[in-house]
């Protein structure tokens, strides 16, 4: 194996393996997007008895219904409709929202940063606390600490997030007055503050408006912590499982025999090896929070994509609902698959042979 040409072919084989992986990834991603669009098409056009009535309402005069049917191509065969739908979706055209009268895409671009900011804060809290808790639980397996982490995680898996949100609002906002009321900013700032990226924490820090930053912080801390708790439940459980796996390996025994300190063995050797699957888990929980924000945003009046979808639902605004579904679905799928690809690329054991 020390022969140089052998080394080169090994290198070639490796980069080919990566190429195959990336190629497979692109195909998978494309078919999954296609599947998502097929399902939303099915929901929007096939499930309702008459999609035109779903759009114009059942009190519209027959002439209007027929005109809309003609205009929207609903009298074409279903496969042609699907192709048109695909072309529109790929160009980001999800139709017009009945409620806001804007193109759905414009609305989504406006509200998406709020969801992104909330999910990011949630994941930071969840991973920042969940990983150390999971490590401690694994190292002290069976101890009181392990039991506590387990119970905290189990409750996180079992509690309805909207209910916990309501109760936390009652306690921390209404009774203790520690946090600000629902929304992203106080009304006073709502009209004076011009966002740049739409991530208020980033924008306020960037423009050095410290009072706005503090206000935005007081608004995001409660919903962020709540989402963080849910991702903590998942992350700490998985961390514990991965760490138990690593701590049983022989290299740990070898490191102990070498006389390394226990702290170094745990936090450096074992955790580093558990890090690869952990990246996947954290990415998955991030995607999950983007989705899970629907209920949280409703409780906290957080003007993100979740609240946008539920508001549209209440007004039977199908274009907006399906547009939002496609956007969240695409982000979800992309993160899902990217984390899978990352896992394959980072872990030598899973590389294509």
């Amino acid at each position: 194996m020390s022969h140089p040409s052998a080394k080169r072919t090994a290198g070639l084989r490796r980069s080919r393996g990566i190429l195959i992986n990336v190629g497979r990834f692109v195909v998978m991603l494309a078919t999954t997007y296609l599947g998502l669009l097929a399902v939303t098409f099915f929901i929007g056009r096939v499930v309702p008895i008459d999609p035109v009535l779903a759009i114009v309402g059942d009190r519209a005069p027959t002439a209007v219904v027929e005109r809309i049917r003609e205009e929207m191509g609903f009298n074409l065969p279903l496969w042609q409709q699907f192709l048109i739908y695909l072309r529109q979706a790929l160009t980001g055209d999800f139709g017009t929202s009945v409620l806001t009268t804007n193109p759905v895409m414009t609305d989504i671009v406006r509200v998406f940063p709020a969801t992104l900011e909330l999910a990011t804060v949630g994941t930071l809290i969840g991973a920042g606390l969940g990983v150390p808790l999971g490590v401690v639980a694994a190292v002290r397996r069976g101890s009181i600490a392990d039991q506590i982490v387990r119970i905290v995680g189990l409750i996180g898996y079992s509690v309805p997030i909207f209910w916990l949100g309501l109760l936390s609002l009652l306690l921390f906002y209404a009774k203790l007055k520690w946090v600000a009321y629902p929304g992203r900013l106080d009304v006073a700032y709502e009209y004076t503050f011009t966002p740049i990226t739409g991530l208020y924490l980033v924008d306020a820090a960037w423009t050095r408006q410290w009072d706005v930053l503090w206000d935005a912080f007081r608004h995001i801390i409660l919903p962020g912590t709540l989402l963080g708790y849910f991702s903590l439940a998942y992350i700490s459980r998985m961390t514990r499982s991965f760490m138990l796996n690593e701590l049983g390996q022989e290299y740990i025994v070898a490191a102990r025999a070498k006389g390394l300190s226990e702290r170094r063995i745990i936090w450096f050797h074992a955790l580093r090896n558990a890090a690869v699957p952990l990246v996947t888990v954290i990415a998955l929980s991030y995607a999950g929070l983007l989705e899970g924000s629907v209920l949280t945003e409703t409780v906290f009046s957080w003007p993100g994509i979740g609240l946008y979808i539920t508001n549209s639902l209440q007004n039977a605004d199908m274009n907006a609902v399906l547009g939002g579904t496609i956007v969240i679905g695409s982000v979800f799928i992309t993160i899902n698959m990217l984390s899978d690809l990352l896992y394959r690329l980072l872990d030598p054991r899973t590389r294509a042979k």
Binding site: G35, I43, V159, P160, I161, L166, V294, I328, F332
Partner: protein
Amino acid sequence: MTDPSSPAPISWRDWLLTAEPHSRRQASLGRAYVTWRRFSENRLAVTGLLIILALVLVAIFADLLAPHSATTGNLAGARLLPPGSPDFLLGTDDQGRDILSRLLVGSRITLAVVALVAIIAAPVGLLIGTVSGFAGGYVDAVLMRITDIFLAFPKLILALAFVAALGPGIENAVIAIALTSWPPYARLARAETLGVRNSDYIAAVRLMGASPARIVIRHIMPMCLSSLIVRVTLDMAGIILTAAGLGFLGLGAQPPLPEWGTMIASGRRFILDQWWVATMPGIAILIVSLGFNLLGDGLRDALDPRESGR
């Protein structure tokens, strides 16, 4: 020692734990007994089982247990009474209805939702997974691609969109949740199928002339059941939470049905002054999902000791 013609009087325990069972029934009962012993050592798991048994009993006898009507209240005399009021243990809601009675009757909806989703989604996943794993080739590739596509979807959002199109209601919520929850079962069943499809007993059955359908249904599906049951039990909590979430958004069960998520939504308006209206149903949801999670964890540990403690 134990001659079948003259069975020595042995204890039930020995009969169950014997290494040489005389009949299939004895062997399977013995296995069940070992599993039960492993399960019952786990105190949390037994707690979970008790919670679920209690849920089932409450759902069956809700009419007898409920002290008041779940749907009609006393608007004049009993609006928004706090918990601990005489005659109303958990208080009343804005329509003067007894919250305890509503919770008891609502347990039926919760149980029906999880049961229906399990009855729809688990067989679909089982069928797709076993057929895919047994057939292999193109069938496998296509079916698994479809499964992966559905697996990559965000479940709650998709369920929301489905219900939006179908119209709100508890039946449509069940359909929507079932449509989004079969893929993990298909993956699981396929993995189990791949594990047994090349084993000797399948070859023997095939030599005896069994059709592929018979092999899959009679000889492969039973092998997938135990891991499938564990997985379904672990998913129950998620199903309850999704159903409650849909109810909270006004898309699940419609008032005056005492669905717990819907009850939280209607208590939301009074949360500042009458906290109990929204709090009590949430506690019920928490207890029941916790029960399913504990039961699922315990079942997994008992059926698959390798994974125990993970």
